[in-house]
Amino acid sequence: LLWDETHFGKMGSYYINRTFFFDVHPPLGKMLIGLAGYLSGYDGTFLFQKPGDKYEHHNYMGMRGFCAFLGSLLVPFAYLIVLELSKSLPAALLTAALLTFDTGCLTLSQYILLDPILMFFIMAAMLSMVKYNSCANRPFSAPWWFWLSLTGINLAGALGVKFVGLFIILQVGWNTISDLWHLLGDLSLSVVTVGKHLTARILCLIVLPLTLYTATYAVHFRVLNKSGPGDGFFSSAFQARLSGNNLHNASIPEHLAYGSVITVKNLRMAIGYLHSHRHLYPEGIGARQQQVNINACFFLADPLDPSFPVEFVRHGDIIRLEHKETSRNLHSHYHEAPLTRKHYQVTGYGINGTGDSNDFWRIEVVNRRFGNRIRVLRSRIRLIHLVTGCVLGSSGKVLPKWGWEQLEVTCTPYLKETLNSIWNVEDHINPKLPNISLDVLQPSFPEILLESHMVMIRGNNGLKPKDNEFTSKPWHWPINYQGLRFSGINDTDFRVYLLGNPVSALCAAWGPGLSQVLLQGGGQLLLGWMLHYFPFFLMGRILYFHHYFPAMLFSSMLTGILWDTLLRLCAWSLASSSLARGVYVVGLLSLLLGTAYSFYLFHPLAYGMVGPLAQDPRSPMAGLKWLESWDF
């Protein structure tokens, strides 16, 4: 078990066990892994706990084999793309060799990871785009339609595996727009024909991928119908869908009325319910009143008189919330909150429900689609303190020991609507009201889709590097500055280390620099490389070396074409035709042999090695530590 296999292998098992989980990437890749595992007879019982664990009797070869198969398809794809673009067999062969002998690419596609699947779809999309470009002289013929729709399908695949797939979509989009622009400028075509072209592309490159992409989500939610580790990331309404969750098949009163016992959940925090307990705020932190923070417990929407007939709570009502266990009221006042000094402190105050004027809150419904009443699960409510005018919210900060390391609850004077200050009602008990089944309240598919995207984006944004940590920088990647350790630290461990083939990297680093000479075939690839590389400079999230590999594919293809052209130019300008041929062949062969030899040197990195570390002169890898930053 290596590195990120812990994640993706586990997620594959989740599909087989049908338990719900959350990940920052779209589901297609993990679904395919799960499918491969299912077909090959893996039963989903392996725990995938930490790198270095043994698989023992578990049948994992199906999943690894599937990824490796897709990874090995990259080589023929690259060959075909280069052949199609440059019409030069040596260039295509050179590219194929570069990719075959690239230790990094090999390492990455050997294990249960998303990257081989992603790279497969990217290359497949690129290949079908190139193929379809070469069918341009026979528009609306069967191959034309075939390649066009295949492009769309692969785009959906790429985006469905990781959001990085967006870049290949941009590339195809750019290609399509320039294509249409040429068609529009061709005055021999009627406007109607151009319109037909446009419609065909919208259909195949926008509608088709979107449908497929949505379909993967439909399958995702259909398959994962059991409660699992991902529940907490989603809203209460979403959780009601999952069997095993305590909200599933529950029946509670639909609308909130005075006298109801409720739990209130914050929309932002992973699992955050409004909570209070008998402990007081410590000396020196605002008023010494009862703590209120985030965790699960009960509150009581307080009635004027319990004997009154049922009266529903409506938008804009003034209410009092009484804590059921301690019968103190939710209270706020002009004291600063314990951690967020600009906010006001929230406490529990009063005895047996009698407090003071600071206990009154106005309840506001943010989404008033369901009318003015407050609907369980679906209504998003804000609680506004009447006296100070602040909004009940959570700062997301963890209280120190005296607050049992729960999350801080504050009353923010900033009235902006943020998820931090929006709550929804989850559990609800009111004997006077009829219970309804929660199925009625289940969100529709578009709502689920939207919510899961919001959660994913938030998850991605949350992956921020720390200040004092060494992080991989995009400029490290093309020069192979540092690899990525897949497993094993000590010399007795089985070690795998992700590092590109240094010789190919050396060749490839030239690629983008000099490729202006190749406008036709190289332009597409150069664009691809730039699109898959430069956006990373702008990304705030934490980055790893393996993020470079899609760009690396493009740069390898570019290198193939480039060296081919360069050698041709050199040879023909230097010598007579017979000698030129020799120079050309020798040049190509030396490149091939160079990469092959370097592959031979570095192959233990990819296939795994045991033994002393490279600093040790006894190690077979001694002397291969060309850069001090390599760490194998």
């Binding site: 622009w181 529009l184 400028g185 005055l187 406007v191 600009k342 923010t412 004077p413 900033y414 009235l415 902006k416 720390k466 200040d467 004092n468 940590e469 060494f470 540092q482 702008l538 705030g540 001090e628 930053s629 390599w630 760490d631």
Partner: protein, 725 residues
């Protein structure tokens, strides 16, 4: 020669009365009652403290922008005779009599006023009619948000002024290109473009977007120039060189000049010193310079030093140790070596002193002559007060379990030998034989046995570590990071053999005399880098907003409220202008796309020259709007409505251009055209009406009743302050 004897000297002056009139009303609208309110309004509280720093010549660090803008504001204070003595701590605080409010606010107001005639000029230079040009200027004149922003001690109006100046002078330049290249006025406008661009960047970093836009337009024009076969090669080369000099070299030099002047002006040490490196601090008068003056330069065996972390995040701190040991068992159940704690401490303390020792010898004093420590030497570090050795070993650090614990070795007589040899790695060395220098050398201390480097992990230790910062040993192979780099700050040659004497020596301040001056470029680079990386606390603000709110004016900012009445200044835009400017941008985009597609099909709706004019107007105005607006979606800092004003100015310029285009090309029949003109007039009077209605909130001079204020709250999101009586 002596031509003036034959013919009289004649000066003909063209005075465009439109421009004069526009300047006059512009000045009137911006300068009227400028010194009112005599209180700190909104961000004046923020800019004001920097002006005070300038007046007192104290060094400061401000991450919000380059120093040119602050210096301009400070110039106003200088001319007004401000002595810098005012406590800028609260919005709404009354100014004391020594603050020259009028002259402090004069410069932003002047630039705001001059933007009005400049809008007129720009539209003329773009080739639109006088009528359209007047329209643009009049719209600028009655835009409430622009007035509010330019009447206070804030920088947006200065930025807008330089943005417009850059565009205007580029247009003037490219128009004179057609007639007389390389003439005096040609050079003048070209140079002015470069200067205005650098000034815009110098006021606020966002000015760089306008600069890039001008550069882009200039390079497209240059590309056409290269393709022009009527010009000789030499001439084309001259053209390109002139442009490169004026638009690339001049701005870069100007930018450096701003920093040069800034560093000359603020030469005293002040409250922000700590953030800078020791070398930088030593170049300021007072502060660290006073302590480090006269320290020996070369660190020798036996030297007593304090080691400061170069990265200095989350806080600048020094390597520190004290009597307390690591707790035997941490809260999470992991064990420690129970040896003496080594931390990083953000305050000066006698426990920050370390002695550099030669592993081969016993003495802790500097020999004579002193033997300097060089790159690659192996040393031991001895803690001055406890005489324990800096040590690390294969024990997990308290808060960063993936790194090694660093301790001062205590011999418990268990099987845990001391590992206290460190190899000195001078990071910024010039040769491998470099000597370890005080302040100047940045070093890594690499542990000999385990090849880990001493590193500041950035985490705060819990109570047992007195909330000091954790220091760990991190594998060198994990890569280079500034948090592993240290420099010697205080330094002296140790002379005392005995521990008691040495303690006395450590307590006494270090003194001697060597001056160390950093070059200007080094200081500039460091200051610029720190300014770009300084973390704003990212605190939420009551009036912060998101870029999406700006287009629809769904937000507002209360700037100031009269202490007794309900007179108030509120940043609110002229809704009519705001809405129609956005509409004009959409109309422009649609029309442009339509024409473009039709031209591709060889259908020419517009004559060639008006098409080119239409494209250029779009590139500069719509482009100016886009480059000044869209980047804000990527920014993570706290954003306010006033960030939109530069973009809005460009939109306002586009509006009359679109109107004139509609009237000229889309209204085919004369009656239709007159109808359109009538509509435009009606629309403009509508905008005037809005201006007059919102005027009390713009100038803040009139106290409105609560009901009047409520009536002005046209949108729920406008947070107009209503006093409760």
């Amino acid at each position: 020669m002596l031509g003036f004897l034959k013919r009289p000297v004649v000066v003909t002056a063209d005075i465009n009365l439109n421009v004069v009139a526009l300047t006059a009303v512009g000045l009137l609208s911006r300068l009227w009652q400028l010194a009112y309110p005599r209180a700190v309004v909104f961000d004046e509280v923020y800019y004001g403290q920097y002006i005070s720093f300038y007046m007192k010549r104290i060094f400061f660090l401000d991450g919000s922008g380059p120093p040119f803008g602050h210096m301009l504001l400070a110039l106003g204070g200088y001319l007004g005779g401000f002595d810098g003595n005012f406590l800028w701590n609260r919005i709404g605080a009354e100014y004391s009599s020594n603050v020259p409010v009028w002259s402090l606010r004069l410069l932003p107001a002047l630039t705001g006023a001059l933007s009005v005639p400049m809008a007129y000029q720009i539209l003329l230079e773009l080739g639109f009619s006088h009528c359209a040009a007047m329209g643009a200027a009049l719209l600028m004149l009655i835009e409430n948000a622009l007035i509010t922003q330019s009447r206070l001690m804030l920088l947006e109006s200065v930025l807008i002024f330089f943005n417009l100046l850059a565009v205007l002078s580029y247009l003037k330049f490219s128009n004179s290109q057609k007639q007389r290249p390389f003439s005096l006025s040609w050079w003048f406008w070209l140079m002015l473009t470069g200067v205005a661009c650098s000034c815009a960047v110098g006021v606020k970093y966002v000015g760089v977007f306008t600069y890039l836009l001008v550069l882009a337009v200039a390079s497209v024009h240059a590309w056409h120039l290269i393709g022009d076969r009527t010009l000789s090669h030499v001439r084309v080369l001259c053209h390109l060189l002139a442009r490169a000099a004026a638009l690339l070299v001049v701005p870069a030099l100007m930018y450096l000049l701003f920093f040069y002047v800034h560093l000359i002006l603020v030469y005293r040490s002040g409250p922000h010193d700590q953030v800078m490196s020791s070398a930088f601090q030593a170049s300021l008068e007072g502060g660290l310079a006073r302590i480090t003056q006269g320290q020996p330069l070369e660190v020798a065996y036996g030297s007593q030093v304090t080691l400061k972390n170069v990265f200095g995040k989350p806080v600048p701190c020094w390597l520190h140790s004290h009597q307390s040991t690591y707790p035997m068992i941490y809260e999470n159940g992991r064990g420690s070596s129970h040896q003496q704690q080594v931390t990083c401490y953000p305050f000066k303390d006698v426990n920050n002193w370390w002695i550099v020792k030669d592993p081969g010898r016993h003495q802790l004093v500097v020999g004579s002559p002193p033997r300097p420590v060089r790159h690659g030497d192996v040393v031991q570090l001895v803690h001055g007060m406890t005489t324990r050795f800096l040590n690390t070993h294969d024990v997990a650090a308290p808060l960063s379990p993936h790194s090694q614990e660093v301790s001062c070795y205590v011999d418990y007589n268990i099987s845990m030998p001391s590992q206290n040899l460190w190899r000195l790695d001078i990071v910024n060395r010039e040769s491998d034989a470099d000597v370890w220098k005080t302040i100047l050398s940045e070093v890594r201390l690499v542990h000999v046995n385990t090849s880990v480097a001493l590193k500041l992990s950035g985490a705060h230790l819990p109570d047992w570590g007195f909330r000091q910062l954790e220091v760990v040993g991190e594998k060198v192979s994990r890569g280079y990071h500034e948090s592993m780099v240290w420099n010697v700050e205080e330094h002296r040659y140790g002379k005392s053999q005995e521990q008691k004497e040495r303690e006395l020596e450590l307590h006494s301040p270090a003194q001697m005399d060597v001056s160390r001056n950093l070059s200007f470029m080094a200081r500039f680079l460091e200051l610029q880098w720190r300014m770009l990386t300084v973390k704003s606390d990212g605190s939420e603000h009551k009036y912060s907003s998101s870029p999406l709110d700006w287009v629809t004016l769904d937000t507002s900012i209360a700037y100031w409220l009269h202490p007794r009445t309900s007179a108030q200044i509120h940043l609110l835009g002229n809704v009519v202008i705001w809405a129609s400017a956005s509409l004009a941008t959409v109309v422009y985009a649609l029309l442009f796309l339509w024409y473009l597609l039709r031209r591709r099909r060889s259908i020419r709706d517009l004559p060639e020259d008006s098409w080119l004019r239409w494209v250029l107007a779009g590139a500069l105005c719509a482009g100016g709007w886009a480059v000044n607006y869209l980047p804000f979606f990527m920014m993570e800092k706290t954003l306010f409505l006033y960030h939109y004003l530069p973009a809005l100015t460009f939109q306002i310029l586009l509006l009359p251009a679109v109107l004139q285009h509609i009237s000229d090309h889309l209204c085919r029949s004369p009656p239709l055209r007159s109808l359109f003109s009538a509509l435009v007039v009606a629309w403009y009077s509508c905008a005037c009406h809005v201006f007059i209605t919102l005027r009390p909130l713009t100038y803040g001079d009139k106290s409105l009743s609560p009901s009047e204020l409520k009536a002005l709250r046209w949108k729920d999101s406008w947070d107009i302050l209503i006093r409760k009586y």
